[in-house]
Symmetry: C2
Subunit: 647 residues, 2 copies
């Protein structure tokens, strides 16, 4: 075991010691009102270098200056260095960024940066239940809750807050959007005091808590007989209860609400609009500067598979677009990146281009529910970059809306109480990338992956390159052996891992591929369900016409015959076969590449990732064979290249 | 509410009061050593008539006589009546039979019968776990166990024992064949004393308990490091432990063992044969007259769907047939009726015709795991009659082996702690029929259903006829809308209720239909997997040739093209469509027939059965549409009659 091995710990994630770096003798200078930041800076340098050699010759100055509120500047001076922030928060971000660039191996004299975040709200959503289980969690149990109580390791919370602040996260919602009768009580005593105590632990790191509230709280904790948002008593309940909440936690960011969705109550049950529901709650937190994040994941989850008129991806637009302009200023509509549900490949939700007078948040999912569950390697940064650079309106990319209409980037956490936070250690990269990308959406996946690899592993150029390449390719590989071309789903119901081609085909969830012996997919064009009409021109026309539809989304928008000729001349069927054979082969490559890293990556990480890559290979082969067999059994047409398809 | 309504209770099952009967004034005469039977007779008459009018004019004499051990005779005398039994047990059975015929409305003077059971062991197997849950239970929780302890209502146990004795059951295994670490302890203290106490409650009714034991008991409760049946220590463990058991329960019937099956340990893990395993345990109980029921449900439940060589129905024969003659005399091989797993339609297990020097039990399943789960109406009597009258060897029907090679009829219980015992009240008929048929396999389903209806309901001729017809047709209806022609499965994995055509198609369980665009089924003929070769001639040839294979088993034995012409000229595909359209329509008829019985059937039963018939109709339509759509999507061929098939 070499030196690096002894100091590396998966628990440190991207805040690893780097004793291999050349320390610099220096003194830190800061005014006493930024003591906490001063200390974070000092602790950070000690972590990196193993200690600080004090020297009056070189001063690292920390100061609050006239910059953007959360912004910072990093400036080398003669015989010194200055980290300035537009506020204490900005200064803290500056310190973390400075430490990160040092950790990446840059020399202090060359680190120069001026930066401010593009969106105000950079938020992590935990889907933690208070019984300790995490919905769609793949890294153990909650580190906030157990047995319907707060139950946490204080040191872990501090470390978590530091990790999050170091990548610019400034808001965290600790409880599942699927609020139950227990977690509904978080906005009332006795749980409220515990929540306030936890909020205090995050506060020094510039992180404000959010709480998922139950739309039916007026009944559940208020003892009322209705939750009708236009009922006087209900409005009064929200006001009074919010006053209690803000009295305990004056800087609470606000509430997150999942209403009228998947068996949750909501305003539509009372004949009210989504705006009625959101505004009533928003009015209650407005006096305290609070915000309501109102999720747009509203659709009919009791669809009959025989019903071909209802088209689930159209639902959010139908519910929310007509209400554009009707939401209060402190309401932020939280919209999943795609119109369906965190699939490997979806178009961007048409709500982003169609809401003009509404505050929006884009919601990503770092938890790999449909993308390999932290067993299969999957770099979400690659996908997010594609999404953010998608054209959503006359020449405008989605990312151009960030900081304008889109005020927030939120994401479902991929963390749990596993020692390495994320189950698969390489999945730490997704968490890292989310925070950094929310800060600066111009960063590419390649840059983000490169940053993360450099700060995490003390390995050589070959080691870094290999991990970078594995991550960069991972999303494409996973997509190719699962359900490519935007067809989505085809996963095992409930677990959402592994293939089950017809698994959702006759269910209530509105996710159908309707594969016949001749064709597959739903016609979502203007001649079909009309989903494409939810996009502005020229996107509408682009998606509508099979010739101009981006090929990777072919089966999201079109019903296509298996003998359809793809752009390169292959039939759709042959494309499906090729994609699955090739994807499974590349999963082998991933394992092989990783095996080349033995002794270049700390043992613990090497072995645990290797185990997962082996499971991924099994999964990839299962996908390959089930998908190919499924289509062979529909068509009777063999692979052109004669590869094995089971009968 | 009329008189009958007031005295009927679902809890009484087939032991209902029948105050409408003409009571007969009589006195009962019996020697003092049959006091319990005397009392059962007296209680039975009081139940039936509402009371007994004593009269010295007419004597009902109970006596033990020189008859078959468990046999009885019922004989009208001048001014009296005699019930004689070949033993106390026989006498008890005579009393119950006498009461049952009275309850059916026959006049005492005309009740004449001489009867003895055809098999020695008539056994109910409960799949009750000690935590209180019942595996594949559809009528509530266990009425023996709760929270890993014995926990029962004494009165309910007595009533259950009486119900079972009244239909001739003489053995009951109270714990699940899937023995876990808790229930493994039933053969040791402290649980053993509780078991003994329960055994005492069944004893007066002529019922001996059986206990499911864990093959690894030598390790789990004996503290040994092996369960190898040829290990001296293991043999010693079984002997010593069995001595302890029989000291507490001298009349324990014996042990039931599921070994080498679905993740249970077994002799094959130690390189031993099934006979080695069974004989070691049997030797331990032999000195006490105990018996070992050794299940033959041994197969590879970790099959790869890509593997077309392994054919699950062949497994039991392969494991056990070569061992014919190797099992000790007190071993009884417990063989499921079919080679697969309690499907709606299977051939008879080839083990019955091929084991010549081995004691056998035939195992049925009264619990409706694959046959509607006590929601959908399903008369098992109809299926059992078909099975028992199936030719298994040169002109011999299966039932001719009963009492010869087949010494026992056993069945998985359909009971639970629901007030009506069986969830669906009409499912009581299956429990009733099993006991009666185990006693007398010559009874037809029609006779058994008629008996049950008469003793259970105090209704008019129209009422009786309607229920009888519903039950008689029910098996055919269920089969037609689910997975007919012996194809089996196509159910939702895990739950085994409702359609999921490809649900088991890519699983490990060895149950595949391999439907392509042209054909469906596994070729199990001599040209295929060779399963048919496990049958003797002429059955082998009959099943082997598609022309002579019974049509209802077509897809069990053959892989058949959709354009294959059935006997009546329809294509297989059209048969599938017709079967499902017709089955769903008949499910409507069932509901309609039942609705005609309002006020003819007690309200409680009327409504609860009606609710189930409505659910059955939904289920039938779901099956119809999913199956038809599945095959339409494979073939592109529409229904000839133009009925609606969803695309």
């Amino acid at each position: 075991m070499d030196h690096a091995e002894r100091i590396y710990s998966e628990y440190n994630a991207w805040l690893q010691p780097k004793f291999s770096l050349e320390p610099k003798a220096l003194q830190i200078s800061a005014s006493s009102d930024v003591d906490f930041i001063h200390q974070e800076c000092r602790l950070g340098l000690i972590r990196l270098w193993g200690g600080i050699q004090e020297s009056a010759e070189y001063t690292l100055r920390l100061k609050v200056d006239d910059l953007e509120h959360e912004g910072f500047s990093l400036t080398p001076l003669e015989n010194g260095y200055e980290i300035a922030g537009g506020s204490k928060k900005g200064l803290l971000y500056g310190v973390y960024r400075f430490l990160s660039r040092l950790a990446g191996g840059e020399s202090m004299e060359k680190i120069q940066e001026h930066s401010a975040p593009q969106v105000d709200y950079r938020i992590i959503n935990h889907w933690d239940n208070m019984d300790g289980r995490i919905e769609r969690g793949y890294a153990g149990h909650s580190f906030f809750f157990r047995n319907n109580k707060f139950d946490y390791d204080e040191e872990r919370i501090t470390n978590y807050a530091r990790l999050m602040a170091s990548i610019g996260i400034n808001g965290i919602c600790i409880n599942n959007v699927n609020v139950n009768r227990v977690s509904a009580g978080l906005i009332a005593e006795p749980l409220l005091s515990d929540l306030a105590e936890l909020a205090a632990r995050f506060r020094p790191f510039g992180i404000r808590l959010l709480v998922s509230v139950h739309f039916d709280a007026p009944m559940i904790i208020g003892g009322l007989t209705t939750s009708d948002p236009l009922d006087e008593g209900v409005m009064e309940f929200w006001k009074a209860q919010s006053a209690v909440v803000y009295d305990k936690i004056p800087d609470l960011l606000g509430y997150l609400v999942k209403a009228d969705s998947e068996f949750r109550g909501g305003p539509e049950e009372f004949g009210r609009t989504q705006a009625d529901g959101a505004n009533t709650i928003a009015a209650a937190v407005a006096p305290f500067g609070g915000v309501v994040f109102w999720r747009c994941f509203v659709y009919n989850c009791q669809q009959d598979w025989r019903d071909t008129q209802t088209d689930r991806p159209m639902a959010a637009y139908k519910h929310f677009q007509p209400l554009d302009g009707k939401f209060d200023r402190n309401v932020i509509l939280q919209i999943k990146n795609g119109p369906l549900d965190f699939q490997t490949r979806e178009p961007v939700s048409p709500l982003f281009s169609s809401l003009k007078n509404t505050n929006e948040a884009i919601e990503f999912q770092i938890a790999q529910e449909y993308t390999g569950q932290q067993i299969d390697l999957y770099s979400l940064a690659v996908q997010w970059e594609e999404i953010l650079t998608t054209e959503v309106d006359k020449g405008k990319q989605l990312k151009s809306l960030l900081g304008r209409e889109i005020l927030a980037m939120t994401a479902v956490a991929n963390t749990g109480d596993n020692m390495n936070w994320t189950g698969n250690t390489l999945a730490q990269c997704n968490l890292y990338a989310f925070g950094r990308m929310a800060w600066n959406p111009e960063l590419t996946a390649k840059e983000l992956i490169r940053e993360w690899v450099r700060v995490t592993f003390d390995t050589d150029e070959h080691g870094r390159r290999t991990v970078e390449e594995m991550l960069l390719k991972s999303r494409g590989i996973y997509e190719s052996y699962t359900a490519p071309l935007g067809i989505g789903f085809m996963v095992n119901p409930s677990t959402h891992y592994g293939p089950n081609i017809d698994g959702y085909e006759f269910s209530n969830w509105g996710t159908y591929h309707r594969a016949s012996l001749e064709a597959i997919g739903i016609d979502r064009t203007s001649k079909g369900t009309g989903f494409t009409l939810q996009y502005p021109e020229p996107l509408q026309r682009m998606y509508d016409r099979i010739e101009s539809c981006p090929e990777e989304l072919l089966l999201f928008f079109h019903r296509v015959r298996y003998d359809y000729k793809m752009k390169d001349g292959r039939t759709l069927l042959q494309y499906i076969y090729d994609s699955h054979f090739e994807g499974a082969r590349q999963a082998e490559d991933l394992l092989q590449s990783w095996e080349g890293l033995e002794n270049r990556i700390p043992q613990e990480t090497y072995h645990s990732v290797k185990e997962r890559l082996k499971l991924q290979l099994l999964n990839a082969r299962e996908w390959r064979d089930q998908v190919n067999t499924f289509f062979y059994r529909k068509t009777g047409i063999d692979d052109e290249k004669g590869r094995k398809i089971y009968r």
